[in-house]
């Protein structure tokens, strides 16, 4: 077994016991990257030199007896997180020469936790999409099947983790961008509560929804990284003032008596294999003492309209700063998808249309929030498939402007409500593609959904199956 195949927990153990160094670990990751990147294209920028010097520093600290949560652990960071001195493009040509003069808060926290950053991962340009096909630097491939899509927008992050290029990846989700690629690539993807992790320094997609979070091999690793990322940031006024907690503490707590809600509409029109696997997963949890309850949530398809309007409106405003005066490249460098979103968003915010679109969408958003609040009076968590399909073929998103919204229909309602959700693999299709289910909890209930995911993972251990690449 190569070191790059380890989980964070295993690697931390090995580093602590001096079985190997962070430089060894980083070298193995770099070796893997060099070997498969030409096929996979998970990275926009690889920072080999910086990574090795961070690893060296981590080894010195380990030798000194220092201990940090991610000391010496090689990770990847999605290319929409500003990294001081390292090119940050959001996979758009508009920013192909942008080198930020500052670090995102998340990057700052990872650095302080001792993480080793191997590079910046590919994504749909500006995070607009669910395929990574809208990247201006070429699409990323799915490690399970190179003819398939990795999902998106954090497709590069998910692919870099499930192909063992890194031990973990940092992604961001607006609606589905962590959970959906994690599902298609067979990884654990956690979208925290909106406001739990700072957005400062994350190139904005839809500001009222964007939530940075980890993509990892295991649930425990996810909790470890969330511990590092979570917390109020005085540079982001929308972060929650709630005190942070140790998310690893309750992982193995019994789920006896836990009430799991299932809403019928979340199983409409999805692959039959996916329904079967999620149902099997529920049986596994039932066996551990959980109670499955049928509930009635709004049909997730209502969320598509709400999400599309709100997100496009915010996008049109957020992309206004790339006006050609700074950053080198002008507006002609925007891709088709960004242009479409700018036009649609501009339209819905225009005088005379605001009430019919934006305002209406905000009103329905409030209803969706209330709908979940009501549901969480009867159940502790909600479980549903993450995506209606397994990884689709490359090219599927082309000529389909609503591709992302349809691929993300099952994650959009919880994103709109700002709720935390986690994707975990619950089986494999006949074509040997991962199938994911999501566990959604009330606001700031990250520890609870991690607990449920962990109990399930311990029982099934699907994460041990790796793609043969």
């Amino acid at each position: 077994m190569n070191l790059n195949q380890l989980t964070i927990k295993e690697a931390k153990e090995g580093l602590k016991n001096k079985k190997f160094s962070s430089v060894d670990l980083t070298q193995d990751c770099l070796k893997r990257i060099k070997e498969i990147e030409p096929k996979l294209n998970a990275f926009v920028t690889i920072t080999e030199k910086e990574a090795l010097s961070q690893a060296k520093k981590a080894d010195d600290m380990i030798a000194n007896g220092d201990d940090l949560p991610l000391l010496g652990i090689p990770i990847s960071i999605k290319d929409n997180f500003c990294t001081l001195g390292v090119k940050t493009t959001a996979s758009s040509k508009v920013l192909e020469n942008f080198i930020p003069p500052y670090n995102a808060t998340v990057v700052e926290k990872l650095n302080n936790a001792g993480a080793v950053t191997l590079g910046k991962t590919n994504m749909d340009a500006w995070a607009h999409g669910s395929s990574t096909e809208t990247s201006d630097f070429g699409s990323t491939k799915n490690p399970w099947n190179l003819k398939r899509l990795p999902g998106g927008s954090s497709g590069g992050a998910a692919a870099s983790v499930s192909s063992d290029e890194v031990l973990a990846g940092i992604g961001s989700e607006t609606a589905g961008s962590i959970r959906q690629p994690a599902s298609w690539c067979g990884a654990v993807g956690l979208k925290p509560t909106y406001g739990r992790v700072s957005r400062y320094g994350v190139i904005a997609m839809a500001s009222s929804l964007d939530s940075p979070g980890p993509i990892t091999k295991t649930v425990e690793d996810s909790a470890l990284i969330l511990n590092v990322l979570a917390g109020q940031d005085d540079k982001d006024a929308t972060t929650s003032p709630r005190k942070t907690e140790d998310h690893t503490k309750d992982l193995s707590k019994s789920i006896k008596g836990l009430r799991i809600g299932i809403s019928e509409d979340y199983f409409k029109g999805i692959y039959r294999e996916i329904t079967e696997d999620v149902q099997n997963a529920l049986k596994v949890l039932e066996k551990q003492g959980a109670i499955i309850k049928n509930i009635k949530l709004f049909d997730p398809q209502y969320a598509i309209a709400v999400y599309t309007i709100l997100q496009r409106a915010e996008v049109s405003s957020n992309l206004a700063r790339y006006d050609g005066i700074r950053y080198g490249n002008d507006r002609s460098y925007f891709g088709e998808e960004a242009k479409r979103r700018i036009m649609l968003g501009t339209y819905t915010l225009s005088a005379g249309y605001y009430d019919a679109y934006y305002k209406k969408a905000q009103q329905v958003r409030t209803l969706i929030v209330k709908d979940f609040n009501q549901a969480f009076k009867d159940v502790d968590v909600v479980i549903a498939p993450t995506s209606p399909s397994t990884a689709l073929f490359a090219g599927s998103s082309e000529d389909n402007p609503m591709f992302g919204e349809l691929a993300d229909v099952l994650v959009e309602p919880s994103s709109i409500a700002g709720l935390p959700g986690i994707n975990i693999t619950c089986g494999f299709s006949k074509e040997d593609l991962p199938i994911g289910m999501q566990i959604i909890g009330p606001q700031l209930a990250e520890s609870l959904i991690l607990n449920v995911a962990y109990k399930y993972e311990q029982e099934t251990q699907f994460y041990k199956q790796r793609p043969k690449l």
Partner: protein, 443 residues
């Protein structure tokens, strides 16, 4: 022109720049006047990708205090909105402002003719960067980007230039009293935008409630004089059009000081759609009543109240009280002197007379010294002696002819020299200048 045929209908938008230490949404220094370009900037006020605004609490409090001073209602709920438009000095492509839920609404202010002018709203926003045009290029200085701005909008209640100017002076005095802005017109701390239209003059009161079907806005004026001139020009221009039986078009104009006229900048058909929507980066703000009342209790005495109190408490004429309360510094100095003078049986009127007639140098003559001077009838120098000396030396050096004339017996030449000194030292007491000059001329 038949000046009585039409009655002006004027409303005002005034931008006041607050003098907080830091900017509105980041911790950069808010100072930009005379600073090296782009020195007080950060990712937030440069609008870099990923940067987020965090509102300045002090600025919000000051905005609310301005609202209180203008008798506004302060809302328990408020929020920021994005005003989307393109301009090279606007790095985010939108300005963070307030749209439908400003901090303060429905205020009023009374003019000397007893008329009450309605204040529609007082809201908070951020300033833009500054464009510096060179021969073939334009440079951008972002030091001003994100400096807190308060916008004060009146109802279209003004009916004459005089009312407008009185209101503006009052407003300037109020923000200075509150200590929230220098309101220095030359530095651009206070910018004025009148909108002007005319209606037929009539005694019919219902007609008075109907607004003209057009309005002309004159943008970004930075002096009271120019506002006066712009309004006068517009009244003339619009009457001319109305006299021809036409209606002036709704448009935005600018004041051209060189041409002494307003010029069209943008007509209504090209009006911007700012696509306002709630700023998602800043959660809505909720104020509990105790926060609001706490702010209210921190309000200093305002000019109008002080004026009335000075007349009553110190038995001063309205004229004297008006001069003494014009600036807070003078009023404070006066009251401190009165407090000290009371023990020495010096009356407020005595003190007022000296302050009004002598133009005392507050920095160098402390109230105690002033009172001492009055009590012991000591001839005190009300001005800074060393400064006066320096000016005199300079004047003597530059006016050798007059000096020689004086020394040759033409003593009336001293009048010329006094005049020269006064040019540089208009505050100076003539007798004092004369005696100091004489001393210098004798050596």
């Amino acid at each position: 022109m038949n000046s009585n045929k039409y009655q002006p209908v004027i409303g005002l938008e005034v931008h006041v720049e607050l003098k907080t230490k830091s900017k509105m949404f980041c911790s950069c220094k808010a100072e930009y006047f005379g600073q090296k370009p782009n020195i007080n900037t950060c990712p937030v006020c440069l609008g870099l990708p990923g940067a987020l605004p965090v509102p300045n609490k002090k600025a919000i409090e000051w905005c609310i205090m301005i609202g209180f001073a203008l008798n506004c209602q302060v809302s328990n709920f408020s929020k920021f909105d994005r005003k989307n438009y393109f301009y090279p000095d606007l790095p985010k492509g939108y300005q963070i402002s307030q749209y439908d839920e400003p901090f303060c609404i429905n205020g009023s202010i009374k003019l000397s003719n007893n008329k009450s002018v309605g204040i529609r709203r007082v809201h908070m926003e951020e300033d833009t960067g500054k464009l510096i045009h060179q021969e073939n290029s334009t440079l951008i200085d972002f030091n001003r980007s994100g400096v807190p701005l308060v916008e004060i909008v009146t109802e279209p209640d003004f009916e004459s230039v005089e009312e407008v100017v009185e209101y503006l002076k009052k407003l300037q005095q109020i923000v200075r009293y509150l200590g929230v802005s220098d309101a220095d017109m030359e530095k651009g701390n206070m910018r004025l935008e009148p909108n002007i239209s005319l209606r037929e003059n009539t005694t019919n009161t219902t007609n008075k409630q109907i607004l003209p079907i057009y309005k002309v806005e004159v943008k970004n004026i930075n002096s009271f004089r120019f506002v006066e001139k712009a309004i006068e020009y517009e009244i003339k221009r619009q009457s001319g059009i109305l006299n021809q039986g036409k209606n002036p078009i709704q448009e935005t104009r600018g004041w051209d000081e060189n041409k002494q006229k307003t010029v069209s900048q943008r007509i209504k058909e090209e009006a911007q759609d700012y696509r306002y929507f709630p700023e998602p980066d800043i959660p809505p703000l909720r104020f509990i009543n105790s926060q609001i009342s706490n702010l209210k209790s921190q309000m200093p005495e305002l000019p109008t109240d002080k004026l009335i109190r000075f007349q009553k408490e110190y038995q001063l004429s309205k004229y004297d009280a008006e001069i003494l309360t014009r600036e807070k510094e003078t009023a404070d100095y006066f009251e401190e002197s009165v407090r000290i003078g009371k023990l020495q049986k010096v009356s407020p009127k005595q003190i007022a007379n000296i302050l009004i007639n002598k133009k005392v140098d507050f920095k160098n003559i402390l109230p105690a010294k002033l009172i001492k001077g009055i009590v012991f009838s000591i001839k005190i120098d009300f001005v800074d002696k060393s400064k006066l000396r320096k000016i005199i030396q300079n004047v003597l050096l530059k006016n050798q002819k007059a000096v020689n004339d004086y020394k040759n017996g033409k003593i009336q030449a001293i009048g010329f020299l006094i005049g020269k000194v006064k040019q540089h030292f208009p505050k100076g007491d003539t007798n004092q200048i004369k005696s100091t000059l004489e001393k210098h001329l004798k050596t």
